[in-house]
Amino acid sequence: MGDSVTATGRIEIDFERCKACELCVPACPKVCIGMGTAINRQGYASAVFERPDDCTGCAICAETCPDACILVWR
């Protein structure tokens, strides 16, 4: 993660804040986000940053997230 040559950005999903609504999954134009299996303290299986190599740091996922739990860096 981060050492990828192709990525031009990076996101971080707040594991404890995510409510697993899945809105960010189809929002990502590069399909970088998937749903995880680990359950957080709220009882939801948080979304995970599955394919960091394709991330462009466009921040569309972060704008879509209703709980503002995605941070984006470029």
Partner: protein, 260 residues
Amino acid sequence: MSAPPGKARFSKAVYARPRSLVDVKSHFCPGCHHGTIHKIVAECIDRYGLREKTIGVACVGCSVFLYDYIDVDVVESPHGRAPAVATGVKRAQPDKFVFTYQGDGDLAAIGTSEIIHAANRGENLSVIFVNNTTYGMTGGQMAPTTMLGQKTSTTPYGRDFRGDGYPIRMAELLAGLEGTAYSARVAVSTPAQIRKSKEAVRKAFEMQINGMGLSIVEFLSTCPTNWGMKPLDAQKRVLGEMSEYFPLGVFKERVQADFA
């Protein structure tokens, strides 16, 4: 989550939580658009540097917890009375920025009289109206904006116009009033719509800053819990059925104030 190793490489923050949005966990159900709309409002408050001079007015419903999530002073008003309370706040302190944040059971049902008269008087307020076609907090009863045929806990066989009337289009209704400066309907179901809705909220806030009159932005929102849908299916409903009955767009935009 520990800091990812890529931090040194991508160090420019492109998107972070707006400053005016308090860093707490919200009570909203997963996929509820209230969170997105809170974020848009907080971003617009940040954009105009209004945080220290804003007074929000919240009513009753899921929207009430505005005072926990947006870092501005908030007055809590009785059900539907936000435009009336906001009128008082704005008249007493005209240099403050005043906005109301209301749901559809609140603005379109019990508060119809207040919003219509506040708009007709041309009060210099901004109104954020969240239309999710149901009373979310109290258990999904029928609201005036409930779609025909929609099953709710008080219309178990679907809303029928013969007994329950038709859904009200508030943005168009208020656009017909002389005192309204800006009236728009937006949605937040796709990234493009989110950006357009930010534009609409910015316009609405500018109307108040320029003293043009009442500005209202109606958001089409989801209520996955009370609709009995997954968040993604609920978004599809907004894009399909709801956008057909409640067309998106700007219905009124005043270019010049009535008074010099």
